[in-house]
Structures are given as structure tokens and as C-alpha cells.
Subunit: 127 residues, 4 copies
């Protein structure tokens, strides 16, 4: 009986969840022996640097203009946002933090802290 033929395909990476993204980033670092550079301190610095690059796109725009980016600007923003997410996920992996659970918990706190009927439309409270 023959073995089934297995064709090794260059399958594009599928990234369907944060968990999967973290695994891919872990593998990426491992293959390059870059875990040594990926201390939480360094990853956090890199995350902040990427946040700054994202902010550079918006610094001289009015709020109105920032709501109406052209395609180039939106693409550029998407790429910088991706960089922020990559470092955030890598950091979550190294620190063993469940990002979605932490975000859900924070959002519940915010729901209690800022009752809709009290803060509606108000610029006074933090949002």
C-alpha cells in the first residue's frame, strides 16, 4: 500500500488569532536567536518607538483631517499599528500575559468607572 503523496506547499501564514500571532512571533525570534534581545524592557522600548512612529503621521493633522486619511496615509497607519501589535504580542508571550483577558477585565472596570448616564458627552472625565 502506498504512502500518500505529500506536497510541501509554500503556504502563506494564516494568522487568525492573537494566540497564533504570538506563536508565530515566538518562532520568528527563536529561529533568529533573538530571544536574548527580547527582554520585556527592550520590547517595551520598541513598542513605544513604534507608537511614536504611528503618532508622527498625525502630529500636524487636524482632528478632522485625521478622520479623513487618504489611502496612503491609512496604509501607513495600518503598518505602524501592526508594528505596535507585534511588539505587544511578543511582550505578552514573554511575560505570559493573556492580552484578551486583560483587555476584557479593563473594559469591565471602565464600564463601572464611567457610567454612561454620568459621563455622557463630557470632556471632563477621562475616556
Amino acid at each position: 500500500m502506498n504512502e500518500p503523496i505529500i506536497i510541501q506547499q509554500a503556504v502563506p501564514m494564516k494568522t487568525s488569532s492573537l494566540t497564533q500571532l504570538q506563536q508565530q512571533l515566538r518562532e520568528f525570534a527563536r529561529e533568529r536567536d533573538w530571544e536574548q534581545f527580547h527582554s520585556p524592557k527592550n520590547l517595551c522600548m520598541a513598542l513605544t518607538v513604534e507608537a511614536g512612529e504611528l503618532q508622527e503621521i498625525f502630529q500636524w493633522l487636524t482632528e478632522e483631517q485625521s478622520r479623513n486619511l487618504d489611502d496612503d496615509q491609512r496604509m501607513q497607519a495600518a503598518q505602524e499599528m501592526a508594528d505596535v501589535l507585534l511588539y505587544l504580542c511578543r511582550m505578552a508571550d514573554v511575560l505570559d500575559v493573556d492580552l484578551l483577558a486583560a483587555a476584557a477585565s479593563k473594559l469591565e472596570n471602565n464600564n463601572r468607572r464611567y457610567p454612561a448616564e454620568e459621563v455622557r458627552g463630557s470632556a471632563e472625565k477621562r475616556r
Copy 2:
């Protein structure tokens, strides 16, 4: 005939994906009439501020110490990381950016840009 007894439960929010998190944040902003403050420019500022708060945890730690946080520090880091993710998701929603797709695309670029065999263990290349 009696009405069925309905027990009002405090159901914790389920957040099982970035997409769901974005929907919850959209609702959160809508209920508070905060869309007016959520220009991409402002959301990006808030994201960077949260990245700074995350960084404050690590600024005086050695890299080694940052790899060995105690429970309090790790909890604090998780909360600041959650804040970064919340603003990143809110921004993605406002700008109609698919975060996971953008991250997967960026990661594929990085795979091409930094071939493992060329950059292994090297601090020279960006990582």
C-alpha cells in the same frame, strides 16, 4: 398563568477575539457619546500615553529584572498592556483597519527582510 421568573445575571463580558473587542469598544464609546473625542489623532495620543505608562514600570529595571517581574509588577504590566490594546483596537475600528491581517502581512515582510541564516544572533540588524 405566571410569568416566568427571570433572574438578572451579572454576566461577565466574553471577549474571545479582537473583532469582538472592537465591537465592545464601539458600543462603549457610543453609549457615552464619546465618538466625538475619538478622532484617530486623539486615540493615537492616548495609545502613546499608555505605552509610556507601561514603560514607566521598566525604566529603572535591568533587563534581567524585567525578565523576572514579581506578581504585582506583572499584574501592573498586564493592565497597561491592556490599555495599549484597547486604544489600538478602538483606533483600528475608527480607521477600518484589519489589525490581524496587517500584523500577518508585516510579519511576512519581516521574514523576508531578516532571513534567519543571515541575522542569527546579530545585534546589528533591527529586530
Copy 3:
């Protein structure tokens, strides 16, 4: 013959220049044995954190509101700006950088790079 009367005064520190500020910060660190924490990497992280704290004041304000801070906001901004300057000066001291000379040189470059008649009122060029 009488000794001159010496009145011990609580003399406030005089800080009349960046150079003097750097000397005072150097002394401040030396007295506390904090030079060990003041690597350029750490000082830069602290500077960025302070920039974030400054930015927190402005994140939900309109540009117009940011031009019309009340006294409390202006005082708070002044204190965060001071923190940025303190870490910048400390960093300049550790790296032996002449801040005013570097700034003057950068300003001359900007004068050449952005000729007034070409960029007047334009949001296209960086400013």
C-alpha cells in the same frame, strides 16, 4: 574685634543656565549613588515616559483648548516640561553632548531645509 555676623540663609538654588542645571543634576545623582541607574538607555526611557505624562494633559483637548489652558493645566504642563528638561540635561551630561550647540546646529539645518518662501503656511512640509 568682632566677627562679622553671618546669617545662614535658606538660599534657593539658582539655575541660570543649562550648564548649571547639568552640574546640579550630576551632583544630585552623585549624592544618591544613582549614577549606576543613569545609563543613557535608562535616562532616555525616563525622558520618553515624562513626554507621555506631558501628553496626557493634551490628549482629549482640542487644539484650541490647548492654546487656552487654565492656570492649573498650565502649571501641570510646566512641571512635566521641567521633568523632560531634567532628564534631557542629565542625558546630555552623561553623553557629553552640548545641548545648545546641537540645537543651534539643527535650527540652522532647518532654516536651509525649509526656505520660508517655499513652505509658507504649508501643511505639506514637515515643521
Copy 4:
């Protein structure tokens, strides 16, 4: 009678103090009609972006490496530090903040808050 010969000299700008730097930056903005973009909100964003560019130099360096920059890295750091100072001074001018006075006041506070004999060599206290 002859007209006196006037030699047009390329006189380098002298910048001997923060006050003078602020005046030069005010003039720079005025000549380009850029005051309209220089809201405190925008200037603060630009300052934070420059802090991020400075941080990019240090993100993958060890603390030890950051204390031993080569000439290129030190020059690059000096230029980014200059950018931070330029936006800080411009912001101080727009908000009418006396930077040196604010820094001296903050330093006095820190002297009281962190008595040398109590915090010597300690990584626990903020520094």
C-alpha cells in the same frame, strides 16, 4: 563719493541661552506662517515623536553599550536630543513657561523628596 562696500556675511546664528533659542524658534515659525500648526497639543505630539526617535537608538543596546556609544551613535543621539529641546522650547514659548525656573523648582522638590541618606543606591525609590 563712493558707497561703502558692504560684505554680505554668512553669520552663523549664536545661541547662547534657552531664551535666545526660544526667540529664534518664534521667528522661524513666524517667517513660515507656521504658528497656526504650533498648538501646544501638536507641539507636544512632535516632542514625544522625537523622544521616540531618540529611544530607537537605544532600544536594542545593553545599558553598558549605551554608555559606550561610538561617534556616529553619539552624533545621532545629539541630533535627536536637539529635536526634543527645540520642541520643548517652542512649547515653552507658546505656553509662556519659564523652563529653567520650572526645572529648578522641580529639582528642589526632588531634593526634599529623595533625601540622599535615605535613598542612597536604592533602586526602590524613583530616581
